[in-house]
Symmetry: C2
Amino acid sequence: MIKFDEQKQLKSINGALALRGEIERIVDAIYAEGFDGLFFVGIGGTWASSLQVATYMAGKSALPVYAENAAEYVTNGNRRLGPKSVLVFSSVTGSTEEVAQALELAKKAGARIFGFVDDPKASLARKVDYLVSYPMQEQLKFLMVALRLMYKNGEFPEYERCFEELDAHLARGLVEAEKAADCFGEAFAKAHRDDQIHYFVGAGTQWGATYSYAMCFWEEQHWLRARPVHAGEFFHGLLEVIERDTPVTLFLGEDAERPLAERVRNFLPRICGNYTFIDSKDYELEGISPEFRGAVSHLVMRVVTARIDAHLEVENRHPTEIRRYYRRLSY
Amino acid sequence: MIKFDEQKQLKSINGALALRGEIERIVDAIYAEGFDGLFFVGIGGTWASSLQVATYMAGKSALPVYAENAAEYVTNGNRRLGPKSVLVFSSVTGSTEEVAQALELAKKAGARIFGFVDDPKASLARKVDYLVSYPMQEQLKFLMVALRLMYKNGEFPEYERCFEELDAHLARGLVEAEKAADCFGEAFAKAHRDDQIHYFVGAGTQWGATYSYAMCFWEEQHWLRARPVHAGEFFHGLLEVIERDTPVTLFLGEDAERPLAERVRNFLPRICGNYTFIDSKDYELEGISPEFRGAVSHLVMRVVTARIDAHLEVENRHPTEIRRYYRRLSY
């Protein structure tokens, strides 16, 4: 399998799960002190991850937890983000200017800052109140924060049992899912490498996956045109431009908004002959109980789409680490 | 001028402004009773309007005001929407199923419901706690709610002066803007009627305008492919697929997020030769003070894009009242 190192991947996921003690101490301290708002802040891909975790919590937790776009916060401000608020972010090096500015602004507003900074030597790492430093696995880190918050708030009594399962089985489950998806990824890449526009549709925690996959992967890395569309909004515009050969890929997860994706799944084949359904249910995740699958089905989607990326890079002879304009021209 | 009735338009806007007494009584009652969350709820175009008003308030008001997507609320739920909450929506006939379901759910949660229902005979009109019935002008109605809330909360002392100006000058200003934009609209429609994909970019209160223009107008009404992109997110993906001839239209408003649009405006011509900037600043709005223009610049954008729509309908010989699939097939 190209671009895949099983041992490295297992280690990366298990290493993130091993941060739990550290994350628990921080979340427990934040919870004990109390907050009037906890904002996951990001831009681009980290904004998508913020949306995922905020959406996951909205239906399950009464805690005031929100997603905040860094660029919007920096320009528009947020009057509800103040001295009793908490800002949570994830960054590799802290060099994304909108996020760096958002931190400064939130600090000035008196908020506590909880940062996942991959590189502990990044200057940003010294500016946070709470720091966790470990590379990659941003979506899993955010999920761990969310589940602990809900546990503390009496909304997730299954916390210990859930993490017993995740600690024992998640890394293996995701690695097996990625291996199982390789043939699919190759066929998909071959079929869609020349697409003029590809529509990606998803809802719930899959919306962040849909949004970031279209934008951060197809547009930014593959230089292919894509449009992410929320499955709940599909019937309010997009459907009218779908024709027989229009490429549409639907992400189906196992969270509360799955019915919105299913509505599209049931309708789409009537008007489109070039659709793909990627359903996290098709991946086994051995050892993970049904009631916890919704919390991690966006992680399944990530490893499945990683197989498309690996093959698309080869098919199009387009190395994905190259940027045409981003960070090559100033803005 | 095709598809334009000056007197009708003046009357429509002034009629909406004349709802102020009614809106004030309702908002004042809601404010007096207090709320732990006020949610503008919508789907498709009404979701876009909800985003606009929530974004406008975020930077200016400490009130807990949010936008909520009806389809997401119905499936995912919202634990923070309860007996002390208020739901505000706008609907023509109340036949949009996601919105109707959201109301039922919010009522069950004990929330108070404030509905703008164009048709007072719609069954939905009987289900609300507070009803205002008047056709069209949804964005203006929501703005009136927002400004009154901010006034009550001590965040908009200029309220009376602002509405003196709007009452006296807004309708005329928007009508003159629409007339001034007609030649532009015709030229734009001729230039872009065959576009394979058109990118619309905007931020702040223009984000809702951008989102709904791409989706509810280009996709749904013109059956033309479009992708809305938030100006704050432009540099995190989209820019890599912009080439010399890629059609990109940037909406510039006069609200707090204008700098995000200006960043795109300054960058785009370096990589694209097929761009259009629509700037609300280019429209006079005589009698409206600079400090109030940001509150209404999304209304300016709406009348400018209305000119594109009128001409595009003729250019493409595609009557915009036809739907290919929406409400013609069940889903």
